[in-house]
């Protein structure tokens, strides 16, 4: 039971099916398996204890992923956007590894300490010849994938996903070869993101062809989706906004598109409603998951979206802002600070348990003795089991003795007609410990001043939640995977406001 078994099954079930690349000239399941077998022999001979992947999305990724799995070597896609200092730290942790890199990254990788680097072309030549022999038995306990988590609040951690976690996730949530041969998925999330790995595994097992965009670009996304008759895609919120705008501007709508899943960050309600209105024939899925849980743990299904969107009942309509219900193969609970499960409607920390839940980093597991993983996400269930996410617990602002979660204030600010994006953070404050600060992006051509937005919040929430500082920007900083970079804003505002002395 290792992830390469999923590829072997696809090659057994439908060897001729095109699974990677364009419909004409792409790799069949049998061809992908053959390349992965050759790569496995090459990786074994290299003596590497990790197979790293450093660069843009490409068809080499699934070959390397399954090749490493067949050889029983962990696969570690690395963030090519990481600054040199961070990259040096990451490479230090995979020092015995072989790094597969884009040509123009080789020099940088070496400078940051990588000893064993190979380009994608060099790998292609190295696996040009057939190989023979059996691969070793890979214990499901072995490490399948190592992912360095995004580190929006701290240094990156190396999350471990063992083969059994990834395989459990796939076989419990995907029907083997359950899709039509015409289905094709466009992958534009970066390879170092859990969604990038999960997309390869779940698409292949479902029999859905995958097509890569090297990196996200809205015009390129729309063009490729149209030309390649893409039916499925996963996007993060910032991507979806740009895609809709491009479709509106160019009048080109990918004709075959019928399924969009989104996740990875807070999706503005307005954007969900616009997508439902502009593309009524497209199924929407909101997926909530974490690296440590092998991807999705809860989802708002296409039917949930349509039912909520058509409903007059505010409680049903509100579900468009939820992440839906937990997967049936998992247990999810919202617990209070005393670690006891809370009833619906009460906010606490989200805990999850199940076969796909790894919750482990290099050197330590974070699972409780009973196998629960604490997500550090705040949230609550409604009476019908829909889960709502209210940001990271680490983002909670502690003002005096009061815990203030940014999400509620952001929602109020976003409801102001002039505001398109809002981020609320805590900045150091001499009197209160932390003060509430808001960073605002206004709609083009609209205006609102600091005092107006402060009054807006004070009129709707407790006065302690009124931002002491309101900062206006042209855009907010996001990671490539759609996560708001609160730490960046916190650092900038803390400096700008001189440690916040006197504010509040």
């Amino acid at each position: 039971m290792n992830i390469a078994m999923l590829l072997e099954m696809a090659a057994e079930g439908d060897p001729e099916r095109i699974v990677v690349g364009p419909h004409d000239g792409g790799l069949s399941a049998a061809e992908l398996l053959e390349r992965a077998r050759r790569a496995a022999v090459f990786f074994e001979k290299s003596g590497a204890d990790v197979v790293g992947y450093f660069g843009l999305n490409s068809d080499v990724l699934p070959v390397a992923l399954f090749g490493a799995a067949l050889a029983g070597i962990p696969f570690a896609p690395i963030n090519y956007r990481a600054p040199d200092e961070q990259l040096t730290g990451i490479l230090g942790r995979v020092a015995g590894g072989l790094q597969i890199a884009d040509d123009d990254e080789v020099e940088r990788l070496r400078a940051c300490g990588a000893e064993h680097v190979i380009t994608k072309d060099e790998l292609a030549s190295a696996i040009a010849q057939p190989v023979s022999g059996e691969h070793p038995f890979v214990d499901p306990e072995e490490i399948g994938v190592l992912l360095f988590t995004s580190g929006t609040t701290s240094e990156p951690k190396a999350a471990i996903l063992r083969h059994r976690h990834l395989v459990s996730y796939i076989i419990s949530s995907v029907e083997f070869m359950g899709c039509e041969p015409t289905e094709a998925q466009l992958i534009c999330v970066p390879p170092y993101h859990i969604a990038g790995i999960a997309a390869v595994l779940s698409s292949l097992y479902a029999g859905r062809r995958i097509m890569y965009l090297p990196a996200f670009d809205a015009a390129e996304w729309v063009r490729t989706a149209d030309e390649e008759k893409i039916t499925h895609a996963m996007v993060v919120p910032t991507m979806l906004g740009r895609i809709l705008q491009t479709i509106e501007d160019t009048g080109v709508e990918p004709a075959a598109l019928r399924h969009l899943s989104y996740g990875g960050g807070r999706m503005p309600l307005e954007l969900v409603e616009r997508t439902l209105r502009d593309m009524p024939h497209v199924d929407l899925v909101n997926a909530y998951g974490l690296t440590e849980t092998s991807s999705t743990i809860a989802m708002l299904t296409p039917d949930d979206h349509r039912e909520a969107n058509a409903s007059e009942d505010p409680a049903v309509r509100a579900r468009l802002g939820s992440v839906g219900r937990p997967l049936p193969s998992l247990e999810v609970e919202v617990r209070g600070e005393d670690e006891v499960a809370l009833p619906p409607g009460e906010k606490g920390e989200i805990w999850v348990r199940g076969e796909q839940v790894a919750g482990e980093y290099v050197g330590r597991t974070t699972l409780t003795d009973e196998g629960w993983f604490r997500t550090r996400d705040a949230g609550w269930f409604d009476a019908h089991g829909f889960l709502y996410i209210d940001g990271r617990l680490d983002d909670v602002i502690v003002r005096g003795a009061e815990n203030i979660s940014p999400g509620e204030i952001e929602d109020v600010l976003m409801a102001h007609p002039a505001v398109t994006e809002a981020a609320v953070i805590g900045i150091p404050d001499a009197e209160w410990g932390e003060a509430v600060a808001a960073v605002i992006v206004l709609h083009a051509g609209q205006s609102a001043g600091e005092a107006e937005l402060q009054d807006w919040v004070r009129g709707r929430l407790r006065s302690t939640k009124m931002p002491a500082v309101v900062d206006f920007r042209d855009e907010l900083p996001y990671s490539p995977t759609g996560k708001l970079l609160r730490r960046v804003l916190r650092d900038e505002l803390s400096v700008a406001h001189g440690g916040g002395a006197g504010a509040g």
Partner: protein
């Protein structure tokens, strides 16, 4: 036989191969086509499928006995039925979820 998650087995009667997804703590008499499964690399003369154990297996389906805590995944299809002793295992209800990745 004593099973362990991840163990791969082959049928003694047909082309069926399985991988153990969940293993009970106690040994079980796991059969295909009425005869005990073999280790994946075992050499043995093929045996014929016993009457009543010929419903076939399907690639990609999971077969389970929840009371025993047993679940296997079919990685190669065959003509025989998977059973524990004389009890044929049920196909685990596939919860086909919408694509989310």
């Amino acid at each position: 036989m004593q099973l362990k998650a991840g163990t791969r087995l082959r049928s003694a009667t047909d082309a069926c191969e399985i991988v153990v997804v969940k293993a009970p703590a106690e040994p079980v008499d796991l059969r295909c086509g009425g005869h005990a499964f073999l280790a994946i690399d075992a050499e043995a003369a093929p045996q014929s499928i016993e009457p009543g154990f010929d419903q076939g297996t399907q690639l990609g389906k999971r077969y389970a006995d929840d009371d025993l805590g047993l679940e296997v995944l079919c990685t190669k299809a065959g003509e025989g039925s998977i059973s524990v002793g004389e009890t044929i295992l049920a196909v685990k209800g596939a919860k086909a979820l919408p694509a989310s990745d």
